[in-house]
């Protein structure tokens, strides 16, 4: 379980996160939703330690991550996998080398053992024959799938996904959602997904936290979100023409 206790973050005079407390449950897909600029990306970056919180604490299974130094965090970071918005694959490496990279850095496995693990991860994301391709040769959906394979290569306990569906067509976005959900339940991972894609919310939102103006505005799950009385959340959920018509 990941817990955030009263975390705040500001950049200069701009308060981006205001006293947010959240819990992300193990074996569930925990969604953070909100409009662009609401602070959800900053929240995720604080959770993984890319930004330091101004106040409050972040606990990974009761280990105080925010109070640790860079080297102390290393043990927790080995347990974290992250899928970035653009994939963040290393351009100079092939798909195989990208997925193998964390194994090379942190294990003493032989090349054969690493290749076996890489192939297992690539099979999971349905990319069996892409080992020798470079990121520049991949489509947007393939990049996301390789990034997922890299994120799970070290058997992470925690998986963070920053807008995993951005820039993808609805079908491919659905494939990525399915993968995230399968990985979460199969490996009992604590998954945190940052999204504003309502399809994902309805499909994989085991727990949902709505961030509005840097504050935690609403918490619930996918069965509750369509029936809430919360005005700001309703404005967000039923903002598109399609959802407006469906609501009618």
């Amino acid at each position: 379980m990941i817990e955030a206790h009263n975390i705040s973050k500001s950049f200069g005079d701009h308060d981006v996160l205001k006293n947010i407390s959240l819990k992300f449950v193990e074996g569930k897909t925990n969604l953070i939703i909100g409009k662009s600029g609401s602070g959800k990306t900053v929240l995720m970056k604080c959770l993984v330690g890319l930004h330091e919180v101004d106040q409050g604490s972040i606990l990974f299974d009761e280990r105080n991550f925010s109070g640790m130094t860079f080297s102390e965090r290393k043990s927790i970071r080995k347990e974290i996998g992250m899928l970035f918005q653009g994939g963040a694959l290393f351009d100079s490496m092939t798909v195989e080398e990208n997925v193998m990279f964390p194994l090379t850095m942190y294990t003493n496995q032989t090349v054969e053992e690493k290749k076996e693990r890489v192939n297992f991860c690539l099979q999971w994301v349905n990319l069996e024959n892409a080992n020798k391709l470079f990121p520049a040769e991949l489509s947007g959906g393939m990049i996301k799938r390789v990034a997922i394979a890299r994120a799970i290569s070290m058997n992470p306990r925690y998986l963070f996904c920053d807008e995993p569906n951005s820039g993808l067509d609805p079908h491919t976005a659905g494939v990525i959602d399915d993968l995230i959900q399968q990985i979460t339940s199969e490996f009992n991972i604590t998954t945190v997904v940052n999204t504003h894609d309502m399809n994902s919310v309805i499909k994989i939102g085991d727990t949902i936290s709505f961030i509005y103006n840097g504050k935690l505005w609403w918490e619930g799950d996918k069965s509750q979100i369509l029936h809430t009385e919360n005005q700001e959340l309703n404005d967000f959920v039923f903002d598109t023409e399609l959802t407006k018509r469906l609501k009618k």
Binding site: V48, G49, L50, F84, A88, F90, D91, T104
Partner: protein
């Protein structure tokens, strides 16, 4: 400017740490020696040959006193190439070639979140990305510069072969005249320090990029400008310390 210098020091403190995995560091080091050093040899060779030839021609052109021996052409070319042209001018050229490459490579990794990905994995990105580049340049640039000296001196020799300005024997006599081995040591010391300046400044500029493609371009330009300025400044300081 003071703030930027402070940030540079902070990043260098992250760079100069023990690598996360030595095996990976050695592999990266070999890759960087190839990327930053061996791939620069072509341009260095061409520039050095022409530079040596021009120095020799200019020296010969200026010797119009019959009491001055033409072997001075070889002597002057050797001294100019070893003391200044190879270590300083070639380092300035490498600041453009290698500096812009490092800044744009690391800057692009920054804006495409590849550096964040490294950090999430628990890897020290500054050390992983910049340290092998600095080490590679500090090891291999002296080799590049010594080869450049050879090419420069050869350039002067080619002039003697293809023109009648002076004979090859005059030139070779001048090359052997009053040779002081310390000049090579002086050039090597300068080169090592210039190599550090080029790679660390470019690494810092790339690492601290914020924004997008325009900012990567701007960081690349800043890397070349600042490393060139620092080379010129340190050239003066080192020359004063080592030769005066």
């Amino acid at each position: 400017m003071l703030t930027r210098f402070g940030k540079y020091i902070l990043i260098m403190l992250k760079v100069f740490r023990k690598p996360d995995k030595m095996k990976v560091f050695w592999r990266q080091l070999v890759i960087e020696i190839n990327n930053l050093g061996i791939e620069s040899l072509g341009i260095v060779a061409i520039i050095s040959v022409f530079m040596g030839a021009v120095v020799a021609i200019q020296t010969a052109y200026n010797i119009d006193n019959p009491l001055l021996p033409l072997s001075l052409v070889g002597f002057t070319t050797r001294q100019s190439v070893i003391l200044e042209f190879s270590p300083t001018i070639i380092s300035l050229i490498l600041a453009g070639k290698v500096g812009s490459r490092i800044a744009s490579e690391i800057g692009t990794m920054r804006v495409t979140e590849q550096i964040d990905a490294l950090e999430i994995m628990g890897i020290n990105p500054a050390n992983y990305l910049i340290f092998p580049k600095i080490t590679a340049a500090m090891i291999f640039n002296p080799v590049v510069i010594i080869l450049s000296m050879g090419f420069g001196i050869m350039g002067g020799y080619f002039v003697s072969v293809f023109t009648t300005l002076y004979t090859p024997q005059d030139y070779l006599d001048g090359l052997r005249l009053d040779f002081d081995g310390f000049t090579i040591a002086y050039a090597t010391i300068k080169t090592i320090i210039f190599a550090f300046l080029i790679t660390s400044i470019a690494g810092f500029e790339g690492y601290s990029v914020k924004g997008g493609a325009i900012d990567v371009g701007a960081s690349s330009t800043r890397a070349v400008v600042w490393s060139s300025i620092m080379i010129i400044l340190f050239n003066l300081i080192l020359t004063h310390l080592l030769l005066s």
